[in-house]
Symmetry: C2
Subunit: 293 residues, 2 copies
């Protein structure tokens, strides 16, 4: 889920709640807030906590929300995770600590273990956020296996944004009952066929309806056709910087310029790229977006 | 500078102040606290502020201290930088926001510019922390040039941990008056010859005396020999994970096991590696470390 911003780049709580409700009413079974698309790491811990509170105050069904809480510093991850639990979030999506590169699997295990131990609540449902292109950190399957063995109910699943379908399928096979979300709707059908849970994706902010259509009919003969269309939409958007592109689409859809705001180091799409994106999407028949409430 | 930790992995203020005084008395002209070696990004903002306060309370000469303040989130960087200024730190060492990869130079410029504008104090002396292997972000020279043009007194220098001597020399040539610190004492002599300011290095925690010896005599005929010895020491230590290796050396030197503590995702050196490190250093004649006060 995007994090809408005000003109001075603060989180826009009103737009956030509007977006959350709209997504749940238009194809999304749940929400992943404060992930990469939500610019989580561009916010302070206090801002991230305030975003969580805004969703609570907005009356969103927190059990359908997974909150990104993974920071470089374990104490930050613990603090955010505790609050997510307190407000009844369905789970937390946790990046490995991502400053140091080339760290050992022992070190990564220790970071997740310390997070889980310090949170100290067996109701925790922790999803491992695998996104090596951003984090610079690999989460190899033996590490997941070790975490699952140590914390079998707490380590609940993964969002795999590694872009490697074979790994997603292997993860589904290796750990039955472990909820594997593909990080892109490009692999939604393949993930479902492999026993995965679905997808959590930047572009789902604007492709929720066709994605839901595929989820509803993934065992039907039309599934391949539905996936092919979804893949075309995804490919069109991901040819541009992803967060800025999705925010641009929301700005066009709502007629509200504020949607374009991103925090540095991200930048809004330049007008020529924005026009090209829209033209290409229209050539595919557009996005079938419902009006925002 | 290392950040010593207590047994429960909290910053150890007493050991921190001891270490700071010892370093300044044994070869270091100044201190770089809360950099990569200081495990800065493994601490919350509050812990980082407390580390700063501990140095102030310990009576350290703050004008000789550069504090690492660069976070993924600009508000965190601003908050830490403001406090560094308030306590009279000699400068701040600022990583680019390092979660998003593949960002544009416009986005990086905007992140530094917003930091500087929001701090809003012309007495700020900001050092650009170039460490692409950890941050995953390049800071190309044209970006530095643009920042220098926009903030000529504030953007004061760089710590270049890129491992590329040609770049360090090119930076010295391109921006006279800009303080270029090599990120390793391996390039200390070369940096000084190119007009650089010196070095800020993990291993200087334990090579401060020989490094100071080189700085004192870098124009003398012995300079090459002094550099060669320093390079041998550096190469020996950096064959191991750097922070853990330097902490191991401090543990052996003081006889205090607590020095080995690191925060996940880092891990202490396993005993066999620790023994190998010490044996190799002894084969070079040892490190000539003064007792800690």
């Amino acid at each position: 889920m995007l994090t809408p911003l005000t003109a001075d780049l603060a989180p826009d709580d009103v737009a956030l709640v509007r977006l959350a409700r709209w997504l749940l009413a238009n194809g999304c079974d749940g929400l992943g807030v404060l992930g990469t698309t939500g610019e989580a790491n561009s916010f302070s811990v206090e801002e991230r906590l305030a975003i969580t509170e805004a969703l609570v105050a907005g009356g969103l069904p927190m059990e359908r929300i997974i909150i990104g809480t993974g920071c470089c510093a374990v104490p930050d991850t613990v603090r955010l995770t505790r609050r997510a639990l307190e407000v009844g979030a369905g789970g937390v999506l946790v990046l490995p600590p991502f400053y140091y590169k080339g760290v050992s699997d022992d070190g990564l295990f220790a970071a997740f273990a310390e997070t889980i131990e310090r949170v100290g609540d067996s109701s925790l449902r922790l999803y491992l956020y695998h996104f090596p292109r951003m984090s610079g950190i690999d989460l190899p399957l033996p590490l997941i296996e070790r975490l699952l063995a140590a914390y079998p109910h707490v380590v609940a699943g993964t969002k795999d944004s590694g872009g490697d379908l074979a790994r997603i399928e292997a993860t589904c096979r290796a750990f039955p009952g472990f909820a594997v979300f593909a990080g892109t709707e490009r692999y939604l059908l393949a993930a479902l066929r492999a026993g995965g849970a679905g997808c959590i994706s930047a572009t789902i902010n604007v492709t929720g309806r066709p994605a839901a259509g595929l989820v509803a009919r993934w065992r039907s003969p039309e599934a391949e056709t539905l996936q092919a269309h979804l893949t075309e939409l995804r490919a069109t958007i991901e040819a541009f910087p992803l967060v800025a592109a999705v925010k641009e689409i929301m700005a066009r859809h709502t007629g509200e310029d504020g949607w374009r705001a991103v925090r540095p180091p991200l930048v809004a799409l330049p007008p020529d790229q924005a026009d090209a994106l829209v033209a290409r999407l229209e050539a595919l028949g557009g996005l079938d977006l419902a009006p925002l409430p």
